[in-house]
Amino acid sequence: MLSFPEEIVLLLLDETKGEFVPLPESVFAIVMSGAALMDLALHNRIDTDLEKLMVVDRTPLGDDILDDVLSGLAGLCDKRTDLEIGEALYEAALDAEEYRARALKRLIAHGILREENGRHLWIFRTRRYPVIDNVEQQEVRTRLRRILLSDEIPDPRDVVLICLVDACALSGFVLSGQELEAATPRIEQLRKMDLIGQAVTRAASETEAIIKFAATTM
């Protein structure tokens, strides 16, 4: 099973072009960080409530992304006992680009992607990641479609994926336009169910609002 940071990198890749779908870097950083935090929560390394995030087990998982995030959070929790989810999210987001690179390496090693180097206009170097094995992408899409278009109670992993897909505005890659409109209340309901997911949605929306504001005032 892929980790959430791997899942989100894979879901953000356009299967046919092998390029990342457009997403502001700062939003990507929040989503990547949220993916790592939610993975740590499902591995019982951290726990959260309405006020704070706690590291409850510092045992490494043998995953170089999750273990780095866990170690950073443990360091923060040594200094203070009132770490908010949002603060933890922004802290882990600082290294999101490095985590994307590691996740890509792993997906290539798993035989899911391949790296393709090329040139644009004979000058600019380009790098693409065409999907060789899209079974994982298809399975996630099928599972999320089933959950979003029914009253089926999701499992905790589905809730995390719905939060991440929604924060990246990727729901349109899972549902058609008409389905998306009908499923909007359901998405709203499910994405609330993970407190870290709520913080991801909030932070991603705030970041996008700042980007829009900056774009209109420059």
Binding site: N44, D47, D49, D155, L195
Partner: protein, 111 residues
């Protein structure tokens, strides 16, 4: 945390006391799964002595709700303290579970 259970006809009443957090979650998940004995299962969870619930605790309840749905059973919660109720409201878990005033009302809701 302490977990106890009793049977009232075809309803299993599970009482949760203390804190349902990451340290209590594994045992709680096991005990709640074991409460799904009927066909279909009918479970009332008495939370009147539950002082705290974290995300890990919510996940235990989500897994339980999914299993109950798969077995076409019923589950309801009763007696939530205000702080626990707030967690259910903020997380939208109050849309998954019927929430009753007390254990007796929760048991009646699943009959």
């Amino acid at each position: 945390m302490e977990i106890s259970q009793e049977r009232d006809g075809d309803v299993v009443i599970v009482r949760l006391s203390g804190r349902l957090d990451s340290s209590a979650a594994p045992a709680a998940e096991e005990r709640l799964s074991a409460a799904l004995t009927g066909d279909p299962p009918r479970v009332a969870i008495d939370m009147s002595d539950l002082a705290y619930i974290s995300s890990a605790g919510l996940r235990v309840l989500l897994v339980l709700a999914k299993k109950v749905q798969q077995q076409k059973g019923k589950v309801a919660l009763g007696g939530l303290a205000a702080n626990v109720r707030e967690v259910f409201t903020v997380s939208g878990f109050d849309t998954i579970f019927p929430i009753e005033a007390d254990a007796a009302a929760a048991a009646a809701a699943v009959r």
